[in-house]
Structures are given as C-alpha cells and as structure tokens.
C-alpha cells in the first residue's frame, strides 16, 4: 500500500518517435524530405511497406508538375479529398505555373495556398519525415509536390465511428440521454455544450508510443485546485507505455494506492456527470478511443451517489440513498453473517427462525461455509457468463442458472433454501451500488469476510470490518482523503453525503475540493432561499 512517488519534471520525451518501445529507432527518423519527388516516393513506400491500407496516388496537378498523394484508407474522409484538397491545389498550381516557371516555385509560396484556397481547418506542412508520417497516421492526407522539400498535410479526420447514443451502463429515468463515444473530440464537445466558460480547460497530451492516444485533462480553472491539476498532469507525463487503449490503463498508473481493492477514481460515460464533477472542482481525464471518462479525486461516498440523485426531488433521493447504504451492508456482510450465526451463534436467532433454518439444513452435506462459497462463486460465474455471452444465448444461460442454482440444487439437497435466499439478496444488493467499480470491490471483499466468519464467527467479521475501516480511512484519491466529510469530519459537507439537501440549500462546493471559491449559489436579495419566495 505504498504511496506512488510523485516526481514532476521528466516530460513526455521519446513519445514522438514512431517506434515501439524497445526497438531501435528507424533509419528515417532524422531524415528530411527531399526535393526529388521520386526519391520521396521511394522513402515513403519503404516506410509504409506491407501496409495494405495505405493509398498512394500520383497525379499531375499542373502541366509538367507531378505530385504524389498518400493517406490511410478508412481514417480520412475520402469524399472531401477531391473538392477540398485536390481542386484548390490544382487551381493554385495552375495559376502559379502561369506566373512563374516551375523551378521558381518555392516553399515560401505555400503559405498563402494553405491560408486562402484550402477550406480545411487543419493544414500543416512538414519538412521532416517523422512529422509527415505522424500526420499521415493521424488522419491527414499528405501531398508531395515535385521540386518541393516539404509535404502538405491536410487533416480530414473521418471514417466511421459510433454516433452519440444513450449510455448503456448508466441509464437514468430522469436526466439527459446522451453518452460519450469513442471519439475524444465529440466527448469534449459534449462537455463544452454544457459548460460554456473559457475557464473550462482542456489540456491535451499524447500517450503511448504506438497508439499515440490523445489524452485530455479537463478542469475548470479557478475551481480546481491548481496543485492537484499539476499533480495529474505530472503523473500522466510520467507514463511511458506502448499503448493506451482504455482509461483503465492510466487509472491504474496514476492512482494513489495501487494495491488497494477500493477504486480511487470514478468513470462515467455521461457528459452531465462529468460537467457536474468539473463544477465541483474535480478533474476529468478523457482518453481517445473509449467512451469512459475518468474523474478524480473521488471519495467513497461519491461512489455511492448516482447522477439521478441530483435530478430527482430530494425526498425521493434521500430515501433511495439510504436504501443504497443499507444494501451496501447487505452486499458486504449478509453471507458472512449467515455463516457466523448458523455455525457459531445459533443462540442469536429467534427460536422459530433457528428451527426452520435447522430444518432446511438438515439433509445438507456441506458445512455452511462451503455451501455459501459454492453458491457465491457460482453466482459470480453466472454474472460473468451473462456479460460475456453472445446476446442470443444469454437467455438460455439465465434459465439454466435459475433452474440449477435456484431450484434443482435445493431439491437435490445440495444447498439449503435459506442459502439461496441469502445469495440472491446479496446479488441484488450489490447491483444497487451505482458505480460498478465499487460494486465489484464489495463483492470481492465478501469472500475474505466469509472465510473469516467461517473460522472465527462474529469475532472474525468484526476483525474484517476493522481492517476495512482502517484501510479505507487511510486511503486517498489524488491526495484527498477517501472518507472526506466523515473522516476527517466536515460538518457542512454532510449536506451531500448521507442525505442530499434540496438544491436551494446546496450553497457550497465540497470543502475538501475547492478551498478558495466554494460558494456556488447565492440566496436572493433578502437572504432567503429561493424556494421561500411566493411566486
């Protein structure tokens, strides 16, 4: 549980090189683009040999002037190639050809071409091969012109990506329906739609020597603690890895306590959640290629809150929040309590209950601990199978699972009916936890608790609880204590921990996040809450 060392300084060096980590740098890394088109074509084809998705095309853009086009098929909008790139270039060169002989066309003439003729947002020119290659791989079309020691790069990012859809893992009854996609620019745009202030910063960096994944650290300047923001940036810069395919890669690399089972970051695919977290002064980390955005720092209680808590009326929210906390305890302790009580403390149950449990367990061949472990593990397996299965067979497995685990096992006398009730209660309980990464932690911790209960009874459970509490109170997320609000105690932050006060009383941001600018709401002129007004 050692804290990850924080050393700022070393920046993202070497990431620009196009080689996988561990391989020697390629011979073309330091080469410059030549004037001779034939030579350039030769180099380009050597670099991209055996890349069947590359498109190479020679054209004559003006009489006597040859050019060469290269791009990766599928990642550019090839429809725009003709109208937005080729036509303006041809036109420009025709004009230039008319005015000057081709030998006189120089690099300096290119700039007006980029600025005036080509109606594309991102146009660059590269003199080094390494930049040209990076541009081509980043959805640019490279145009080499005979006699020019430069490549024009026209970025027409395209290809087919998933559109904005309703998020599947975080569905709500009341609330926005849009979710993040795999494209980082769409994702940042979805947040920008909601938070319209220039203070919303989107700090970009590139991680992964091979994947060159775009990462955007987003925060609201003035609200987020600058030290914390720097901390996040520095930790990200320290990462040297070949590829980042999902936000989970960087979550594990930058969290405070890598050996803790408890999640120290939150992920969401909802722009409204991200906007809400940013407004409280947190950081969001977007990763290109995944719809899941990381949010840090988080507290334990935040992982018990769903975004709908803030959209539904506060009475309902509070009721549901308490239900969630009750079921959190059920999810964590019910099987171990059952084991402890039936194998050590039969005196604790009401007589009729103990007799009916005894009656149900009469013909069961296994001790309660083995029975419980068996059932819990098969439940976890069923759940896992349910996720991995092709949707078409899912139904078959659920029927099988219900019949085998639910009924046949009881009738065959392998497990007792109370155990089935306990396992299903626990299963349902673990699904009431709004964030899946906390739910899976709770499910995991259940097993050591069950073993402790089987060995030491209630005493073992108390040992387990003590260990969990001690561990959780010394955890932190980006330096913010995990149990903030309760330990260390902040009275005013209890407005949004176990209860959620109505919005007209939610005057301040959590004190552990924004120490300077904590006011988020003003009472009306007379100092009364808005809802006291008679409309």
């Amino acid at each position: 549980m050692s804290k990850r060392g924080k050393n700022p300084g070393s920046s993202a060096q070497g990431l620009a090189s196009g080689t996988p980590l561990g391989l020697p740098s390629p011979p073309w890394e330091k080469l410059e683009i030549q004037k001779s088109l034939d030579q350039n074509i030769q180099t380009l084809k050597t670099i991209f040999r055996d890349c069947s998705d590359m498109v190479f095309r020679s054209i004559e853009i003006a009489p006597g002037i040859n050019a060469f086009i290269a791009y990766v098929e599928g990642i550019v909008l090839s429809l725009e190639l003709e109208g937005h790139i080729l036509e303006p270039i041809v036109e420009a060169y025709m004009r230039m050809k008319n005015e000057h002989p081709p030998e006189q066309i120089k690099a300096a003439d290119l700039e007006p071409l980029e600025n005036t003729r080509v109606s594309l947002p991102q146009v660059m020119s590269a003199t080094k091969w390494i930049d040209a290659v990076e541009g081509i791989l980043n959805s640019s079309v490279a145009v080499f012109v005979d006699g020019l020691s430069e490549a024009h790069l026209f970025n027409i990012k395209g290809g087919i990506r998933r559109p904005v859809q309703e998020p599947e893992t975080e569905s709500v009854i009341r609330g926005p329906r849009e979710g993040f996609t795999e494209m980082i620019r769409i994702n940042t745009a979805l947040v920008r739609f909601k938070v319209k202030t220039p203070n919303l910063k989107m700090y970009r960096m590139v991680l992964g020597t091979d994947t060159k994944t775009d990462i955007v650290v987003s925060y609201i300047e003035g609200l987020a603690d600058p030290k914390m923001v720097n901390d996040v940036k520095n930790r990200l810069k320290d990462i040297k890895i070949d590829g980042v395919l999902e936000s989970g890669y960087i979550e594990e690399m930058i969290e405070d306590h890598p050996y803790s089972p408890f999640p120290q970051m939150l992920y969401t695919e909802r722009p409204d959640s991200v906007a809400a977290q940013l407004l409280e002064g947190r950081c969001a980390i977007f990763v290109d290629g995944t719809p899941l955005v990381l949010i840090a720092p988080v507290t334990f209680f935040q992982l018990m809150q769903a975004n709908e808590d803030y959209y539904e009326r506060f009475f309902i929210t509070n009721f549901i929040r308490w239900i969630r906390y009750i079921f959190l305890f059920i999810a964590l302790f019910l099987p171990s309590l059952y084991i402890a009580v039936t194998t050590f403390h039969q005196d604790m149950l009401p007589t009729t209950l103990v007799l009916s449990i005894a009656a149900a367990r009469e013909a069961i061949p296994f001790p309660a601990l083995v029975e419980a472990l068996m059932m819990e593990i098969s439940f976890e397996a069923l759940r896992e199978a349910g996720i991995r299965l092709p949707k078409t067979v899912g139904q078959a497995v659920s029927i099988l699972g219900a019949l085998v685990i639910g009924q046949a096992a009881v009738q065959a006398g392998i497990v007792s009916a109370p155990m089935v009730i306990i396992v299903s209660m626990t299963g349902i309980a673990s699904f009431t936890i709004p964030h899946f990464n906390l739910a899976i932690t709770i499910r995991l911790l259940r097993f050591p608790l069950m073993l402790l209960a089987g060995v030491l009874g209630l005493f073992g459970i108390i040992l387990g609880i003590t260990w969990i509490l001690v561990h959780v109170t010394q955890l932190s997320s980006l330096g913010v204590p995990y149990m903030s609000g309760v330990s260390p105690f902040h009275g005013q932050d209890h407005k949004d921990i176990f209860v959620r006060v109505p919005w007209w009383k939610m005057r301040t941001r959590p004190s552990w996040l924004s120490k300077k600018n904590s006011e988020r709401e003003k009472p009306d002129i007379n100092g009364n809450p808005v809802s006291d007004k008679v409309w």
Partner: protein, 398 residues
C-alpha cells in the same frame, strides 16, 4: 520489508490453525425447546424436549433427516442424576448432537420437586450464559414430563404452547430472571402458574390421546422457595388482577333484572397498592382502574342509557370486590403467603414502618385489612344496545 511480509503471511496461517474450536454446524445442534425437573427419590429427573428439525418439513429434508419418532416434531429424553446438571449431562451422553439450551421456551417444575424447594436448582441456569434466563417457569400438577408430552395440536411443541398460554395469562410472565428476583426480594412471595391437563372433549369423542389439553388451572403459591399450596377456582383471575398482572379478564355479572348474566371484558387495567398504617394496624387499599366493554348479555336488561350503565358498573364492582376478598382470605388465612407483595409495597412506600414490621411480618400479614376501591368504565356495549333476538315485550326497564 520482505521479511515482514513473510512473517505476516506465517502469522495469518496460524489464525486458520487455531480457528473453529467452537464451530458447530446448525445440524449438529440439538435444540432443547423445553425442559422438566422432577423429583425421583433422592435424585433429580431431567426431561428435555428436543426439536426434530428433520420432521419440521424443511425443503430437501424429506429424504434425509435422522431418526424421527413417529409424526412428532420433537422427542423427549429423560435421565436421572444427583443434580440437575448431572442428569442433563447423562442426556448429553446419549445424544449424538450437542444440546443447546439457548432456545428453551419453558421450564416445567413438578409439584413434588417444588415442595422440596426450588432455589438449589436455579444456579445452573445462571452460571452458563448459554442458558437463557428468559425461559418461562411453571409448576405442573403431578410429574412435569407428562405435561411436556401432552398433545398441543395448535403449536409445533407443547413447550411453545405453554409459553403462549403464560404470555396470555400475565402481564409480565414469570421468567427465570423474574423468579430469581422475587425469591430474593423481601416482602413478596413467589407465585407461579399451575399447569395441568384438562379433558378437552367428553370421553366418547375422538382419539384417546388427543383428549387432554394443557391449561393453566391455578396459582402455585410459595413460601420462601417451597411450594405450600395451589389456589384454584374463579378467584385466581381476580388475584391475578390484584397483582396487576391481568392482561384481560372477564366478569360475568348477574343481571340487575334478575335472570341471566351480563359478561364484561376489561381490556385495560391498572392496579395500585396503597398502605395506610396506624401503629400495628395495617390497611391495604387496592385501587383498581379498569376500562372494558360488554361482550355478552343473555338477560333482558337494556344497556342503552347511562342509568343502566352505572348500575351495571356497580354490580360488576361488587362481583370483583367479592372475588378478590375471597381469594385474599384464602391467601392470608389458609396459605399465609404474601404473593401480592404487601410487604414489598410497605417497604417501598413507608420504609420506616417496614423496619418495625419486617421481623414479625409473618404474624402481621394475616391481620392486614384490605379495602378494594374500584373505578370501572364500561365504554362499549357492542354493536347492539338491546338484547339481540328477543321480542321487545320481554325487555325489562326498571
């Protein structure tokens, strides 16, 4: 660091080695749900009623489930020993599962045993925490184990039925804790419910075994820890009331109109004792406050108006006072037991007087004068105010 981790791992292994010493699976436990104490010669006979989970009809237990004795959901096991614990240990020796006394509902004590004194058996209940002091205690007519094996068709076990009966009978049922407390308190004598078997139906109906019913038929009266007598008859209800232990009680009042009875049930009552002391003259006032309603009127008396209700309340008072006096007369003159706790009341309300009385309380007790003050409210006469099913001509207005 590595060494510390290795040491930690080794230590955690030792936890698993030491564990489980008192682990007992629920199907290795014999749940004692009732027990009986009887005297046999010089020895103590202990009879335990043990639940048979196998015949309680849990799912999956049809196939397995140990040796069941007939259709019964329990079986009795009885052994003799020099002490109660010894005889229980004898039973354990002949039982494949560990006896657990934590769920004992009732403890029945045979009449013979109780006459010899009950305090010496109490120690074993308190010494081991597993034995709950919440078991209810009752005295039985004849040997206790006979009652334990009586038919209790309504409940799963006879002991459960006795517990329900006792919960109905008094406001605070006598548990082992209450019993020990009463034994140790000065100025009050112990009283326990007296349980016997009653004919449930006339002889010529039904199966012979099912004919006897468990019932509370009297009050077992103690002097110190010895049973000195049993009070039976209609007075026990009123003595119960005077002890402020009555939950609900019914009084059948002779109708003021002559023929028939009007039955009143009192659902709420509060009884307080109030001593008035002049020298050695002690007068005990029993103040009864009760609310209730009419549940039957088989006479032709009309209950509709206030005058009639007042008259009825007076008649009910007379009935209650008469019965309490009869009962108290028996207690004071015949059994000399102070189960109402007159002594305790004086001790609490007038400690100085009690200091004078306490050494000769046994002599003074029979001479305590008793005044019963009643304050009855009949608040509800039911759904009909005139006698139901009678022609108006026969109704009596006075």
């Amino acid at each position: 660091m590595k060494k510390i981790r290795a040491a930690g791992l080794l230590l955690s292994v030792s936890v698993a080695l030491t564990g489980c010493w008192d682990r007992t699976e629920i199907n290795d436990v014999a749940f004692v749900i009732g027990s009986c104490v009887d005297k046999e010669g010089d020895q103590v006979r202990s009879t335990l009623q043990i639940a048979l989970p196998g015949s309680l009809g849990g799912s999956g237990s049809e196939g397995g489930g140990g040796g069941t004795a007939g259709n019964k959901k329990y079986y009795l096991e009885s052994k003799k020993g020099i002490t109660l614990r010894n005889s229980n240990l004898e039973i354990q020796a002949g039982n494949s599962r560990r006896l657990s006394f934590a769920h004992r509902r009732t403890l029945l004590v045979g009449e013979e045993f109780a006459k010899g004194g009950i305090s010496e058996m109490l120690d074993q209940f308190a010494r081991i925490p597993q034995n709950r002091l919440s078991s209810l205690v009752a005295i039985t007519e004849g040997p206790a184990y006979k009652i334990m094996d009586a038919a209790a068709p309504m409940e799963q076990f006879p002991s459960e039925m006795i517990r329900e009966l006792m919960n109905e009978f008094t406001k605070t049922p006598v548990t082992l804790k209450v019993l020990a407390n009463d034994l140790l308190t000065t100025g009050v004598d112990v009283v326990l419910p007296y349980i016997s078997l009653q004919q449930a139906v006339p002889d010529n109906i039904g199966d012979q075994n099912e004919k006897k019913n468990i019932q509370i038929t009297g009050l077992a009266l103690f002097k110190d820890d010895r049973l000195v007598g049993v009070m039976k008859g209609p007075e026990i209800k009123m003595i119960n009331l005077a002890m402020n232990q009555s939950t609900t009680y019914d009084v059948a009042v002779p109708s003021p109109s002559g023929k028939g009875y009007i039955t009143i049930t009192f659902i709420e009552n509060l009884v307080t004792l109030r001593p008035v002391i002049h020298g050695d003259n002690i007068t005990m006032h029993i103040d009864i406050l009760a609310k209730g309603g009419v549940i039957e009127n088989n006479s032709n008396y009309i209950l509709g108006d206030e005058k009639h209700m007042n008259r009825l309340e007076q008649e009910a008072s007379k009935e209650i006072i008469a019965q309490i006096k009869t009962g108290l007369h028996k207690l004071q003159d015949q059994y000399h037991t102070d189960i109402l706790g007159f002594g305790r009341t004086i001790h609490q309300k007038n400690p100085k007087a009690w200091d004078r009385f306490k050494d000769r309380w046994d002599e003074l007790y029979p001479n305590v004068k008793v005044v019963v003050n009643t304050n009855l409210h009949i608040e509800n006469i039911g759904a009909v105010n005139k006698p139901f099913g009678r022609k108006d001509v026969k109704l009596k207005h006075d």
